[in-house]
């Protein structure tokens, strides 16, 4: 879907992105996390084609974002951390303008505007001026503008900042819905607990480098397998055998709780649950397992920082092994 190869971006005196490479699976939500100054916003700007990296490239399918940015933007939506709206325009005109600016044909434009408004729960506010909306609704309108052309990829930089808990909850639901509708999202945020609600993948940046990029527990792998958590009303000695017989893999049992991996969608899950109940298990809870993202993230950062670090190397001394551009200094 989207592939980042050897991205390098410098600011005077420091390297913001240091040979960053990764790829993002389609129909996933990748949580982009990292401490302040890790390079998250710079990475998103480069991925959106808004900033020209010193080296490396970003491919959206086969489109090189920095060679043909206009073409890439037709398949991409971006919401920056500090976004603005045309406060004098109504919600409908804001969306209509974005639809026109994205080159949507006139015969499809009204439908696109309506669909974007409905997706973000703004259909009943089309006549309201953008400047009169609440913070949460403004956020929704900004996302609606970013998706009005049905992009394959959406990049969101701190979309939940400044939102109250209710608006954050609503935003999470919106992002999940967009993913379910086939879009791929990359979301940068500091609020890890919230990211955990909807993210399928975790990408951790620190000092311009990737510390971790993996699928989250609870998120389906490429083959559709995901980790589940089963809690019984009371412990059962044959729990591991029953789960294995029902198709569970990598089963781990601790008292009345079991974690295991299973494959399949909602129907397969329902079937699995039925078989477990038929096997006589007193099921108290059955759900996709959740990792504690915050603990994992903090442990990762701590681990990276306790490693012995020598004196910082000046540009050229150590970076150029992965640089796409530039001789060794």
């Amino acid at each position: 879907m989207i592939r980042v190869e050897g991205l390098v971006f410098d600011y005077p005196g420091f390297r913001a992105l240091d040979g960053v490479s990764f790829s993002v699976d389609p129909h996933s939500i990748t949580a982009l996390v990292g401490p302040n100054g890790a390079g998250k916003t710079t990475l998103l700007n480069c991925m959106a084609g808004l900033a020209l990296p010193a080296a490396g490239r970003v491919l959206l399918d086969d489109i090189d974002v920095h060679r043909v940015p206009r073409e890439a933007h037709a398949h991409m939506g971006y919401l920056s951390d500090f976004f603005g709206l045309y406060g004098e325009l109504t919600v409908k005109r804001c969306l209509d303008y974005r639809a026109r600016a994205q080159g949507i044909a006139s015969e499809r434009r009204a439908a696109s505007v309506q669909l974007a408004a409905e997706r973000l729960g703004l259909a009943d506010r089309l006549g309201q001026r953008a400047g009169e909306l609440s913070r949460g609704l403004r956020q929704r309108l900004a996302i609606a503008q970013a998706i009005v052309h049905e992009p394959a990829v959406i990049l969101l930089d701190e979309p939940a900042s400044g939102l109250d808990p209710e608006a954050r909850f609503g935003l999470a639901a919106v992002l999940r819905a967009l993913r379910d509708q086939g879009m791929t999202l990359i979301v940068s945020s500091h609020i890890l607990a919230e990211l955990e609600d909807y993210s399928t993948h975790l990408l951790v940046l620190e000092q311009g480098r990737i510390l971790e990029h993996r699928a989250l527990a609870g998120a389906a792998d490429q083959d559709g397998a995901r980790r589940f958590e089963l809690i019984l009303a009371e412990p059962r000695g044959d729990l591991a055998d029953i789960l294995a017989a029902a198709g569970g893999r990598d089963v781990r049992v601790e008292g009345a709780t079991a974690h295991f991996v299973a494959t399949g969608g909602a129907a397969a899950q329902a079937n699995l649950l039925r078989r477990l109940i038929e096997a006589g298990l007193p099921v108290a809870s059955f759900a996709a397992a959740r990792s504690d993202l915050q603990d994992a993230y903090l442990a990762l950062l701590k681990d990276s920082r306790v490693r012995p670090q020598g004196p910082a190397a000046v540009n050229g001394a150590s970076i150029h092994s992965r640089d796409a551009v530039g001789p060794r200094a």
């Binding site: 005196g13 959106a48 600016a101 012995p308 670090q309 190397a313």
Partner: protein, 463 residues
């Protein structure tokens, strides 16, 4: 319709505003009619003044705000993410953000046309001057964006001021020598041997500069929208401007010793200084420009190339050509740039080539001063500081030295061939060498610091 133009129309052209303008302007014209003794000519004159007040004071402000508002309202990134190309964006912004200004200005032009003794060529100059002023304002905002907060009030004022200057220069009042508005055309302009009436010629010239201003806005937007383009436009514009002004060295001028190079050299120098001040002097950009060149990635190098790079050899080539020609010909036949100065110095033989070489080195020194100041870690208004330093170096210190008595020290501050070519060249060369060393060290200090290799090895494989 162009989406950017349409969006601006939605904001600018509301019904109450559309109704208000004819009423306000109508009242002003009525007042002018009474005050002017019920003379329609006075109303036309008032309309002209109003037109320029509207276009130059208000229009340039709106044109600058076409970008400044987007930046301050944080909508610019969202615009850059659209599928709109640079050309659509350019004219959508330029004529959309100023649509209401144009609405007012066109009413003034219509009233002006009611009773005007101006030739149609002169009349057409008004909208051309106005449009060029707006384009220059927007262009200056775009050029400032890479360096400072273009949304700031200072950026807007600079853009507005330059727009006003260009607007006045291209208006019929601009070429004061011709006074096109009232001239009885009794002479012809000789341009490369082509004879043209002043009105026709000035209209064509103004239209040419308008086209360049619009094209410049387009190119500046290409850079902002990350559209890859090859950097030939500035070079072509430089050649155009030099060729345009050099065309006025007609037979009578040549007989008086005015060579076309005498016209071309100062223009090339002005363009060089415009380039070094207008361009962003970002240390990172210079680094990656050099690395892109070194790795043979010419496309990337072209996007990163400093604007002054083609201007320097152009100016140097023309200056050296002028010096050589002056030295090889009878110096008295060719007016040097500082004719009065040399006559005052009672110099019989002009070492013009040494003078040209020194001038080139001083230009290089000035560039290095700018880069040195811009590469400072806490640089605040480095371009303004450079302007002040250059004023001191070129005017204040030489004036003091002039009082103290001339000598070789003058060669440290001005192209000064009077002490011989070695001093003339050696003094600025020493300055260039020292400044290049300091600038290089400062630039190296800004090299990005990266993490040690052991952390790199510790990184997990990305999915």
């Amino acid at each position: 319709m162009n989406p950017e133009f349409l969006r601006n129309l939605w904001i600018e052209m509301t019904l109450p505003r559309l109704i208000a303008v004819p009423l306000v302007l109508g009242a002003l014209f009525l007042l002018a009619w009474y005050v002017g003794g019920k003379d329609l000519g006075e109303v036309s004159q008032a309309a002209k003044w109003l037109y320029y007040i509207i276009m130059l004071l208000w229009g340039t402000r709106r044109a600058a705000a076409a970008l400044g508002d987007e930046l301050s309202n944080r909508t610019w990134d969202s615009q850059r993410m659209s599928a709109l190309g640079p050309w659509s964006m350019a004219w959508g912004k330029l004529f959309g953000a100023t649509s209401y200004v144009w609405y007012c200005a066109l009413i003034c032009l219509a009233v002006m046309a009611l009773k005007s003794d101006q030739a149609w060529q002169v009349f057409l100059l008004h909208p051309i001057a106005g449009a060029t002023a707006l384009a220059v304002s927007l262009l200056v905002m775009l050029l400032q964006r890479g360096r400072t907060r273009a949304s700031s009030r200072r950026s807007s004022l600079i853009a507005q001021a330059l727009g006003i200057v260009v607007g006045v220069l291209l208006s019929p009042a601009g070429p004061g020598l011709l006074d096109l508005g009232h001239i009885e055309v009794s002479f012809m302009i000789d341009w490369y041997g082509l004879e043209a009436r002043p009105n026709n010629f000035f209209l064509a010239a103004a239209a040419g500069f308008l086209a360049w201003a619009l094209f410049a806005v387009y190119r500046a937007l290409c850079a902002d929208l990350q559209k890859p383009v090859w950097p030939w436009a500035w070079t072509l514009f430089s050649i155009y401007v030099i060729a345009f002004f050099a065309g006025f060295t007609d037979a009578s001028a040549k007989a008086a010793g005015v060579d076309w190079l005498v016209v071309a050299v100062p223009i090339a120098a002005v363009l060089f200084y415009v380039a070094i001040f207008a361009d962003t002097k970002d240390s990172v950009r210079y680094r990656w420009f050099l690395l892109s060149l070194g790795s043979g990635d010419l496309a990337r190098a072209a996007r990163l190339m400093p604007l002054w790079l083609p201007s320097l050899p152009l100016m140097a080539g023309l200056a050296l050509a002028l010096g050589l020609r002056t030295d090889q010909a009878d110096p008295a036949r060719i007016q040097p740039l500082f004719h009065d100065f040399f006559r005052f110095a009672d110099v019989q033989v002009l070492p013009a080539t040494a003078w040209a070489g020194a001038a080139i080195l001083f230009a290089l020194r000035d560039l290095l001063i700018l880069l040195f100041l811009n590469f400072g870690k806490r640089a605040r208004s480095p371009d303004l500081a450079a302007l002040i330093y250059l004023a001191i170096l070129y005017w204040v210190i030489p004036a003091i030295l002039g009082f103290l008595g001339r000598g070789w020290t003058q060669a440290l501050f001005l192209p000064w061939p009077l002490e011989g070519p070695w001093v003339a060249i050696g003094a600025p060369l020493a300055e260039v060498t020292v400044l290049a060393l300091f600038t290089w060290r400062r630039w190296q200090a800004l090299a990005p610091r990266v993490l040690p290799a052991d952390l790199r090895k510790a990184q997990p494989q990305a999915a």
